[in-house]
Symmetry: C3
Subunit: 430 residues, 3 copies
């Protein structure tokens, strides 16, 4: 294990640089636009107009997903740190894979949409990461990133180009796909020793607050996620408005059901951190259609309800019966709401809410393809990750940062708060 990680990381980066040198170049329109004193309708104008939405998505990927997973008391470094690592690898690889599929043999041109799509492609891996958190080494995560983004790009191409299905907020191709891919890998990587991981599978007070940073940035910027690559004008406007109201409705319903399912009516931080976001996932597929805000709010409410119930009843069942331990509950945040989004998309298309007339059957095929490809891809990836050459992660590797990180050391009893109190001895006591 000593040199596997650094050598693989360097090797991957060298490969990326070589491939970028061979395949990627700048968009050339900009040079032309600049000379003709460009107005807003041009590509250059569109670049700077969409840049704030790209940055919102960027914040979701790096701060949102990164901090959402810091709720575990001893796994914050890995959550936010490995999140950064795989997102940085993923966006380079995503640029290449998606570019190759779209460029039909020509050079890949990097523009604002390809940058947004590259960020999107990393989202699938980050979702899957939530399911395998604490069961997987950084080396395995690098491999999973390479495989999953390739499979994602293939499925996304199938959905968009062959089925011609509509999935603007990627409920199916990112959220459902990422969740079921991750669950399949988690199932393969299951080992009885994981039960010992339970002692670390807890939050502390401040780790729950760190996680809320992730929740809030995801929640606020989700309208940008669902609208970033939508058609300018009316469709982009509707994607923003529908997502905004779906999320607002989602919050109230998530709080209500969280209180309802806990035995003394209290609120549970896990639900608040996750189920409040389910509305953003579920409204994704039909976000840019004329579904009316109140329908978006119904979709958000249903997603919140399903998500809370999933956390309460389904996740424990998965762990005990199916032997799939879903660390962050991605099935409840991305899996089920992603399926709801796919189904809502079929209904919306059947009721002609979209003016580009996608086919309801093709929407169903897209949902099936996203789940099926993810499950098969995840199973195969899991088996590859189990190969002994990567170094079998020991049972120690359970939500414990000290396995992969230099963790700040304290002498025993060197309690920070104690020390700190000691320093203030000169101060009058309360």
């Amino acid at each position: 294990m000593r040199f596997t990680f650094p050598l693989m990381a360097i090797g991957l980066e060298v490969a990326m640089i070589v491939l970028f040198g061979l395949l990627v170049q700048y968009e050339t329109d900009h040079t032309i636009q600049q000379q003709s004193n460009s107005t807003k309708s041009t590509d250059a104008g569109r670049f700077i107009e969409l840049y704030p939405l790209f940055q919102d998505v960027h914040v979701m990927i790096f701060v949102g997903f990164g901090f959402l997973m810091t709720f575990l008391k001893k796994y914050g470094f890995s959550s936010v740190g490995i999140n950064l690592l795989i997102a940085a690898l993923g966006l380079q690889w995503g640029t290449l894979v998606q570019g190759i599929l779209h460029s039909h043999g020509q050079k890949i041109h990097v523009g604002i949409k390809s940058m947004i799509n590259a960020d999107f492609s990393t989202a699938t891996v980050l979702i899957s990461f939530g399911a395998v958190l604490g069961k997987i080494s950084p080396v395995q995560m690098l491999i999973m990133t390479i495989i999953e983004i390739a499979v994602f790009a293939g499925n996304e191409h199938l959905v968009a180009e062959v089925f011609k299905a509509s999935d603007i907020g990627a409920s199916m191709t990112i959220h459902a796909f990422g969740a079921y891919f991750g669950l399949a890998v988690a199932g393969i990587l299951y080992r009885p020793g994981l039960r010992r991981g339970h002692a670390n599978e807890e939050s502390v007070y401040h780790s729950d607050l760190f996680a809320m940073i992730g929740t809030l940035f995801l929640w606020m910027f989700w309208p940008s996620f669902n609208s970033a690559i939508a058609e300018a004008g009316n469709k982009q406007y509707m994607a923003i408005v529908n997502t905004y109201f779906s999320l607002a409705a989602c919050v109230l319903t998530a709080y209500a059901f969280s209180s309802l399912v806990e035995h003394r009516g209290k609120l549970d931080m896990v639900h608040i951190q996750n189920a409040t976001l389910a509305g953003g996932v579920a409204v994704g597929t039909c976000a840019d259609m004329t579904i009316h805000p109140f329908i978006a709010m119904i979709i958000g409410s249903v997603a919140a309800m399903v998500s809370v119930l999933g956390f309460k009843f389904l996740t424990p069942l998965f762990a005990t019966k199916l032997r799939i331990q879903d660390t962050c509950g991605v099935h409840n945040l991305h899996g089920l709401p992603g399926v709801i989004g796919g189904l809502a998309g079929i209904v919306a298309v059947a009721m002609e809410a979209s003016d580009t007339n996608p086919n309801p059957a093709m929407q169903a095929a897209a949902l099936g393809s996203s789940i099926g490809t993810a499950a098969v891809g995840g199973l195969i990836t899991g088996l590859i990750l189990k190969l002994p050459i990567w170094g079998q992660p020991s049972d120690q590797n359970c939500y414990d940062d000290s396995v992969f990180w230099e963790v700040p050391r304290w002498r025993e009893h060197d309690n920070y708060f104690h020390e700190h109190g000691g320093q203030n001895q000169l101060e009058p006591e309360l």
Copy 2:
């Protein structure tokens, strides 16, 4: 109490969905603009142009206000969590109430300005929330949200449409209004047992750092708050510039006075977290007028000074003499600076700094109306909240998350840091 909260939350969300179904629809201009290949001056262009400012305001509402209140050592979940709940309810209700008042019997059209205004309307409740933090249950907060936003919308309509007063950054209609409304409710909800709350009315080291996340995002994005609904072009430009410099001056003065009033010249985190923002509040009313940057800086400095002195001398007096316990000191951050803003607005208008010629007397009426409506509305709301049907919150309900939340449990002595040190036993000691 067991079912009151979930049933009320679900009931409110169902009501919102029904009302949205009946009253709300998309802006239709977008469809037209799209066809005519829209340029920037159109509504569709304006939507995406203002969207980044909307997102800045969004961050202020959810991260800014939410984390600003996490300074209490045992009340972080409620601060950031109930903040999210009432903001999500408030933006739906605000869309409806403000929409009804502006639409003159027609359908409510949702656009970027109505979304910004909906976020604004939640700000009033979040400000009031700061005054009653730890004295109020989630059920009571839902009721207060519904009442306060309705009263706010009425007063805002009066100020803008009847008095035709100028208040672009809402010093009067949001900040002063929210503060005095909250103080009135806090006065009614006062009970002697609150004194026991003092033990929890403290920060710990890291809770003060969490609160700084809120402070900084509020501070940075305040120019967006004061300019988001300003007239495009010159006025929006001035609102941004004036707020930027008012806030910068405010910081230096707040630090100076914090050090000045503390007995050994040290800085106090409460002042830094709050008084540094007073300049944003106080410059609000006249932000879009040609007041000159150096006047904005004077306004910011005066507000900082008043705010620090308020925290030091006025808040303790309020608690002991007036029996109004202002948990977060909203009187010093929003109340007094809001009044300064209103007064500055009267002077600016009298000196003809605004080219739309509002009337100084009407500006004064707007300030009086905002404070008066807030005080009366708050008193009545407080009495409604005291009705026994909502369940009288026990004295336990004092800055203690474990009353309403499932809080991470530790076995006694199961010290996180101790544990953590234990894990690193294999590491060489320092």
Copy 3:
């Protein structure tokens, strides 16, 4: 010391207000544009178009730099708090100094570019602050801010107007300058008692997570930093794209080398927090040139490697041999990568990657000037700061917030976590 700080802060703010009153005024173009129904190519349109990039830079300055330094376990208040203080002073002073140099005797007009440049000028001081963190009092920091920004503005004028060198992302004029200025001051302020500071020169688990908030916001918004004042259109586009890919490559290489240099292959949080950003610094000078994305990735990778090696081998050497204690390792994040950036700029210009044809020799002069001016300026500033009139900071002043801040007090043994556990006695134990 009791009154030095507040009086100096008030005095500086009064001086700023007077100077703003005499020298600064609004941009007047806006009034004109507004009447002629402005389109995007006008100044007013450009203002609101660049405003999101300004806000990204703003977040980097206040949240990015502020939280990046919170890694020290007992110095979070000073890190984020003094960061806010000096940035707020710096942006006022920067507006004046840069304005005077650019306005050729006329009034200073405040626009979006002057606001971005004002934020930039504070960055130099914040970088230097990282080198002297824990060795310097707030009073000294105010003085250093005034001197350093004046020197910076002089050097920046020399580089841009006399040498006509290209340095769009300010690798030389901000990053290298800020680092070497800070190191020179740190060298002068060295005192043997600093060794006692080592006990506090550590992170705790959650302080490292707070620092990651800073890292991520710097990382995400660096493309905005390098492109904010670039020419609209093609050059701005390239500055964004090149920085985006340089940073992505930088992450992988930083992780690889962090693991490589640690004795058991673990990752080190200090490297992850800092070296992942080196690519943004190093690509700065040539960010808006047609260097091709893969070259940007190579620059980012080299910077990451140099940065990690610097942290591992150079920083300890500096502290012991050169008696320069670089608290945050700014030499590795800003110094060395800034030099790499300057060198890459010389090569890029020599290979005619820039269409404005700067001179390679002049680029070299710019790099030399930035480092030379910084070193001399820093030495003189250090000597001024050592004057006894400012109050010699005691050896206590070592990464300990309780010297300058009212720190939350606990009675001894009043352990927060213990207490908290106690509260939950009614809950069933695990």
